[in-house]
Symmetry: C2
Subunit: 406 residues, 2 copies
Amino acid sequence: MKYIAGGVCAAKGFKAAGVFCGVKANSSPSKKDLALIYSEIPCAAAGIFTKNQVKAAPVLLDMELLKNGNAQAIVANSKNANACAPEGMENARRMCQAAAASLNIPAENVMVSSTGVIGQRLNIEAIEKGIPMAAAELSSDGSDAAAHAIMTTDTVKKEFACELDIGGHTVHIGGIAKGSGMIHPNMGTMLCYITTDCAISSAMLKKALLAANSVSFNRISVDGDTSTNDSCIVLANGLAGNTEITAEGDDYTAFLEAFTAICTNLARSMAADGEGAKHLITCKVNGAKSIEQAETIGKSVIGSALTKSAIFGCDANWGRVLAAMGYSGETFDPEAVDVSFASEAGSVKVCENGRGLDFDEELAKKILSEKEVIIDILMAEGKCEATCWGCDLTYDYVRINGDYRT
Amino acid sequence: MKYIAGGVCAAKGFKAAGVFCGVKANSSPSKKDLALIYSEIPCAAAGIFTKNQVKAAPVLLDMELLKNGNAQAIVANSKNANACAPEGMENARRMCQAAAASLNIPAENVMVSSTGVIGQRLNIEAIEKGIPMAAAELSSDGSDAAAHAIMTTDTVKKEFACELDIGGHTVHIGGIAKGSGMIHPNMGTMLCYITTDCAISSAMLKKALLAANSVSFNRISVDGDTSTNDSCIVLANGLAGNTEITAEGDDYTAFLEAFTAICTNLARSMAADGEGAKHLITCKVNGAKSIEQAETIGKSVIGSALTKSAIFGCDANWGRVLAAMGYSGETFDPEAVDVSFASEAGSVKVCENGRGLDFDEELAKKILSEKEVIIDILMAEGKCEATCWGCDLTYDYVRINGDYRT
């Protein structure tokens, strides 16, 4: 497997576009707000969505449409979440229909997503004018524009792709994602679209999506807030020409490994670009009695406001790591826990068997000043491990979210 | 029942003191760091403690000592949590023994608490020198000094007392508490000490403590971080002369009502003084199918980083309230939810049946600019309600916690 360029257009037969259509009144045309992703032929499709009880209209619509396991296009807008909004479902359907008309495909094969402010009426008229523009701009190098069009408070686009060999055929997998705040995916993810030319059944595609999601998107948190709009949709058009994957085996394993790598890169980049973040926090938990225990403890640590604030301050306050482990809900022996901080600047053990060690504060400060900081936890419960990703809590997070609607 | 002054010394036979003994090297003598509370006669006692798996040594010791339901004194230091610290249990016992020696009572009747930084060795020598000083200063107007001595990042002392009539006898209940960060009590509370001269058995005292705790301390959150040191201890010396309360009945009901009022005031004052807080957020949930549902939803709302940031910005971003309700884990009909914001400046309904209303943004801003902001949620699931308290997320929370240890 090797990483390549091209995002959602890396796989054969996929085109994308991103345009400005004015979803929000008086917004600047320099920020695109409408994305379109299209496959030349129908695709096996799978999706996972937010577990939030309050689901946006496009999420409810996609869940319904995906029951047949097929799709051919995705249309998505930023600047408005179409959640808790008047005429939400009607407007989601109108988005579908407009894209179907422009692409000359059935409306039931168009997935639709929205992201932005909750509770305001979607400007469907602007979107209906924008969709034909986007359709006209579809191209095999349109992934960059689509990735930018779905961004909200994101500061960098999230786009990854790779290629691998399956049975002598070169298969491509690529994805784009957005996500910066209200990030605490629960079984679903953020807005994320992945395309592949791999031939794979929709059942196996769903299986791969669930497996990859559980170790990538479900292991990140920016602020503990699970969105109303989390969606991850994958389209597979089969144009790579490999024998269709319809069961587990070497081909599925190779596909899953590469697919998981793309999901993990997208997830990490969301955590690193968390609203206001100065640091990506990677928490590695080793020596757990189960993967679930490792994951629960890791997510508790990256979710701790106090730990996040300490990392912002480059303060090696490991007591907060222990406290967050302790309130995770998992049972473990606190007197058998070791904690180290690490980064490109080195590594320092700060706690052994649940007790503080004397350590070099200057070195610790240097380690914690790097962009990516690793919190390395070793327990004595078993041999399982998990890695989770979060970010620090900063003044900018508060500033960004103190006045998001205006 | 009427509120009175005096805190933990409001009840007959109780004395308190707060002194500076230098728990932390080079700290200013202007901030007291050692508190002592003492009853002239032995008391029925009850306590509840953190459910964090990582418990501080004094918590583990108190849990053991309280098994007999008796106590006569409480000694507590700030500036060091004696959690995950070398010789933690040994130092907790030495604190007990020093207080017992100074007060000439058995060591098993002395409760001990610590609060402050996790993971550093307790300066027990300073405390052992300080305890005789505190014992010498015990007085019936010492509650103020004790309340100040247990403060860490608190900006105001938390102290309440009341009196009520039970069977023709005037009974007093008073308490002090500290708590500003790492506040998300889970069955236990923060450091909180309550005294009463009511005659009540330790079993009924424990029952009252659990009942009051469930609607007060367990309904506040500052940052979602459950401390290693949460402790709430109540001492009842019986000097009011009422017939001892040994079962439910009118006397117990009257006691519980007043006791709950004191706990609620202490809890609210902790939330209002949350680290860096500019606003106390009171979330009232009505129309729930159970008290548990109302409480779970209310705690999810006050715990939401995005909702907290919006209140900091005086931004009526009710979509975040809906989102936080939705990820609470509770099942409910999102299309039957109304939300209003209220304060001393008025009230404005912003969401009806799960959809946004047009509302006066200027009025909303004015309402949200008050110190106490109420988020009023009405569901259509049933007739149960709960009120929870939190605070906004501010630059100062990040500043305070970016460099707490130094």
